[in-house]
Amino acid sequence: MKHRIAVVSGFLLLAAGVACAQAPNDAQIAHIVVTANQVDIDAGKLAESKASSSDVKAFGKQMVTDHSGVNQQAVALATKLKVTPEDNPTSQSLKTGGAENVKKLSGLSGAAFDKAYVDHEVAYHEAVLAAIDKTLIPNAKNEELKALIVKVRPAFVGHLEHAKMIQAKIKG
């Protein structure tokens, strides 16, 4: 219960951070994209090694692969556009939330780990999709940056659906 409150408050913080912060510029948006991917890569690596269900393990591995692929494109685009990703409050709250999640997951094992990881993946992808729709896409000025976010958005939807399927399955 305590954990759930911590996770929820983390997301509220993220949502609040996104809502209250001034509209991010392209350099900040690029930083948010890279950070959001990196946070999910870190959790995925943990699931790859710690998950007990083969579905959860495979999902963790997929998150590492997919989000690394997106980040390679994001970094390549930022380099091409000569944009240096700029740290910002949204990135910081993403990072803090990710570190808290990894810390919490590190103390769990077996079915409890699987459930906590998958529950977090569902909530995380929902939060990131909300940020994509409400903040990142509307504020991106550069057309190529906007196009990249629009193009990878369905992958996040796919991850969310996939995570929900596993969530239902491991619930039994």
């Binding site: 692969t65 997919d66 692929g69 997106v70 990878v152 369905p154 796919g158 399927m165």
Partner: protein
């Protein structure tokens, strides 16, 4: 006799290369393009992955590409008539279909 044998070779060569048309489906932006495809028996379908992460082409109980990596392709020769709805098992919102006549 020799002519008949030569014709036989042509026939075999024809089958080996897939006598029908080849169709291309591009996987890009977590979509199959075109999402629905109508082909004839004997046609070849090639799926090419242009996304920065793997996809699959999976019709449960019918065919399954397994993971198709970045810039990789997967080929299927349409042998049996029917309607095949397929999806990417990694991104279940990515769906397509093939009708084999």
């Amino acid at each position: 006799m020799r002519i008949a044998a030569a014709l036989g070779l042509v026939l075999i060569a024809g089958f080996a290369h897939g006598a029908g048309t080849t169709h291309l489906v591009v996987m890009d932006g977590v979509k199959y393009e075109p999402a629905s495809l109508r082909v004839k028996r004997g046609d070849t379908i090639v799926w090419v992955n242009k996304d920065p992460f793997p996809h699959t082409v999976t019709a449960k109980g019918q065919f399954d590409s397994g993971s198709i990596g970045v810039d990789r392709r997967w080929t299927l020769v349409a042998r049996k008539a029917g309607h095949y709805a397929y999806l990417c098992t990694l991104h279940p919102n990515m769906q397509g279909s093939v009708d084999v006549e």
